[in-house]
Symmetry: C2
Subunit: 236 residues, 2 copies
């Protein structure tokens, strides 16, 4: 099954977005009458046919619209962007494949990158969603300051808050500590780690320090391992 993406989908006829039109008509050489599947990344799977196959005026007819619920557990990974943007793109791709609900990019004291192209990040996410046949696109939050990010979290929206940080006072891992079926936010630090001040602020906010296993991981690998760990925990 090939899955296409269209931001807003309704039952009936509608124009087909430019990029997907190119993919369907030019790359895959689909024609009027051909069936195809769409998701809007908001839980819908649309069964459609091509009703107009000219590239610039491409249209589809949506015949059926299924609604799929978002998985019952909610994982939010907040990560300090790496210097190398490819590592972040890869992180986004893999999190979407494995399963994640929100991704935030947080500018910490030792973050080496403050700007990055959210459009490219969103494209990676959409493409991974399609490839892994998912119907929910994670919420993608543009880079924001560490302090600002903390203000967006409450014990109501995230009963489980973890910060990936290892020191002498902290022998437990995310896997040992996190519980299943609770909305969970996990903070992943930059290559230079969180500052002590940041760790303190997070702890005041209710974040619990956890490790991610025995290995020293790169930022993006830590993000993926945290994401996989939260999936495993639901199976425990």
């Amino acid at each position: 099954m090939l899955l296409f993406y269209q931001k807003d989908i309704v039952i009936g006829e509608q124009p087909l977005g430019e990029e997907e039109a190119k993919h369907c008509l030019r790359v895959l050489r689909m024609q009027k009458g051909d069936k195809l599947y769409f998701t809007d990344g908001k839980g819908h799977l649309a069964h459609a046919v091509i009703s107009e196959d000219t590239l610039k005026k491409a249209r589809i007819q949506v015949i059926q619209l299924e609604t799929h619920p978002n998985p019952s557990f909610h994982t939010h990974i907040a990560i300090a962007p790496t210097k190398n943007i490819e590592r972040m793109e890869w992180f986004v791709e893999k999190c979407v494949e494995i399963g994640v609900h929100s991704l935030s990019f947080v500018l910490t004291k030792y973050t080496e990158r403050s700007y990055f192209n959210m459009e490219r990040i969103e494209k990676k996410a959409v493409s991974a969603m399609k490839q892994s046949l998912k119907y929910w696109l994670p919420t993608l939050n543009a880079p924001q300051s560490f302090d600002n990010f903390l203000t967006t979290l409450t014990p109501q929206n995230y009963p489980q808050l973890f910060i990936a940080y290892v020191d002498k006072t902290n022998p437990t891992t995310l896997f040992q500590t996190a519980q299943a079926h609770l909305p969970t936010c996990i903070l992943i630090g930059p290559e230079g780690d969180f500052s002590l001040d940041e760790v303190e602020k997070a702890q005041q906010k209710g974040f619990i320090k956890v490790g991610l296993g025995e290995s020293r991981l790169r930022t993006e690998t830590a993000g993926i391992v945290a994401c996989t760990t939260m999936q495993m925990i639901q199976e425990k």
Copy 2:
């Protein structure tokens, strides 16, 4: 701590390999008398000083040689190489970071790539080992046929054999099935999946079919998730 790599290390004076010499002397501008750490990827950590800092005649004096045991559990991931070689390089990097003992590249019926540069793969592995401060380099086996690969495995060397394959008869996951502290080999198929014939041959050999969770994963992501899962299982 910065960790360097030298294939064979002994106590006393010895020439420094060309690549690491460039890195130490040219990039990091280290000089005679500077201290540094080496591993041979065979469990040793060497404390050394630079005894000769000319690029072409670079030498080190190894003062102390620590021996570190390999982690008690043994994970072997055998994967069908992806068409895009970068995805395999990334897979190797991440497995080494997270922790793996052997990596094999297996040519299955639907594998789209038969040749790849093992030297580049080895470089990726060495670099990830150094970066994650590990002292063991995984065994890296060059591409071989599926049938040939199966002959290398016995119940003695691998009491746990799994094949990542999902069908109607197979509702369990690796996480639910695998036990800790047993040498384990996990087969990961290509984008077009294993052929039925291959699944049968693997089963005859004692491989058990397992899923890796609810998501449809790309080959390299499946490899990483399997590797992370085996780490988690040791913590269960």
